[in-house]
């Protein structure tokens, strides 16, 4: 790609062609995702600032240590969240496959991969719903923090406030991503894209879905690992 751009540098911006070589909607999706990245970035930086400004902080391994169908005193940190992470990665992979199938105009493959992606998104949302419910029953919510700091001192509500706000905002993104994918599936099944002659809409939905996966990489690291 770079060879063609360096070979004709003046011609690229001289009009008559698309200098970015992507269609309008895709470029706008990129710009939207950039603004969304700044929103999430602002949230996570606010979390980091508060954490740096506070004496003591809860140990994530003491907070996120349970999983469904386990007893009250189960101690399995990182296990459940790693499952959630892999679910999201795999659903991202099936989304790529759907996009590629769309480029090959292979309707059946698009449908199968979209369904798998939607299932992955729904599975992730279910995991998150379980985790929120579990934490709520432990007494955690906005403005309430039952967990002690790692050094045994009383902790502030900063931890739970940021956790529920940021994972909630991410979960809302996953939810809207699932809705978008369902719309894409309906449009594929009703042959909308076949009539248009291209599956470019799937690529835009794919960009959004990958972005959701990308944000989870950061949220997962910031809240569960570090």
């Amino acid at each position: 790609m770079s060879t063609t751009t360096t070979a004709v540098p003046e011609k690229l911006w001289s009009g008559g062609k698309s200098p970015f070589k992507v269609e309008y909607g895709k470029l706008m999706m990129w710009y939207f995702l950039m603004s969304d990245a700044f929103t999430f970035g602002a949230f996570l930086i606010a979390y980091g600032t508060t954490r740096f400004a506070t004496n003591g902080w809860p140990n994530p391994n003491e907070v996120f240590k349970s999983y469904p169908f386990a007893g009250e005193n189960s101690h399995a940190p990182l296990v459940f969240v790693s499952i959630m992470t892999f679910i999201l990665i795999i659903s991202s992979v099936t989304m790529v496959l759907a996009v590629q199938a769309g480029q090959q105009m292979n309707k059946n493959k698009v449908v199968i991969n979209l369904i798998l992606t939607i299932l992955g998104g729904a599975a992730f949302l279910s995991c998150q719903a379980w985790e929120w419910t579990h934490l709520f029953h432990e007494g955690a919510w906005w403005g309430r923090n039952p967990f002690m700091n790692a050094d045994g001192t009383q902790s502030t509500t900063g931890f739970t406030n940021f956790f529920f706000t940021i994972t909630g905002f991410h979960g809302f993104h996953v939810f809207s991503g699932v809705i978008i994918n369902i719309v894409m599936l309906i449009m594929t099944l009703t042959d909308k894209f076949e009539k248009r002659g291209h599956y470019l809409m799937i690529e835009k939905a794919g960009l959004y879905w990958h972005f959701v996966d990308l944000v989870w990489v950061f949220v997962f690291t910031c809240f569960y690992l570090i």
């Binding site: 895709k26 954490r51 991202s92």
Partner: protein, 143 residues
């Protein structure tokens, strides 16, 4: 016309997807292994900080593979790559400035508000007491 040109410039294909999937999984497994290794360590020890730094680097590597290959940015025109990536460099300054600021605020508070510092070093009450309060609150909420 434009659409056919767009559809043509994709690299890699299924092989690339499989490769990137494996890389992402391996990076995640390494992250988790480091997370497990960190558990027994003392709070704030330098080894723990080093591991946390490593995890952040692995996180950035994962972000690179997702954006570059899954979101296809690596195969786009250089102009587009620059349009997306250069503004994001602002984050380098944001993170540095805000974390520095937060740390400074903590030190100022601890120096000039000793009462608050004393409060924050007090050990928390026993868990059972807080649990009782919680159940009382819950009962109230139910009523």
């Amino acid at each position: 016309m434009e659409h056919t040109a767009v559809a043509e410039h994709h690299g890699g294909g299924t092989k690339e997807v499989i490769k990137v999937t494996i890389i992402l999984s391996v990076l995640t497994v390494i992250e988790l292994a480091l997370g497990f290794a960190m558990m027994g360590m003392e709070q704030g020890s330098s080894l723990k900080l080093a591991i946390k730094g490593t995890i952040v680097i692995l996180m950035l590597a994962k972000a690179f593979y997702i954006v570059g290959y899954f979101m296809h940015l690596k195969h786009e025109v250089k102009n587009l790559i620059m349009t997306i990536v250069v503004p994001l460099l602002l984050f380098v300054w944001f993170i540095t400035a805000f974390l520095f600021e937060g740390n400074s605020f903590k030190h100022l508070k601890n120096t000039y508000d000793p009462y608050k510092k004393e409060l924050s070093t007090k050990k928390a009450e026993k868990k059972e007491e807080t649990k009782e309060i919680k159940t009382e609150e819950k009962k109230k909420a139910v009523e």
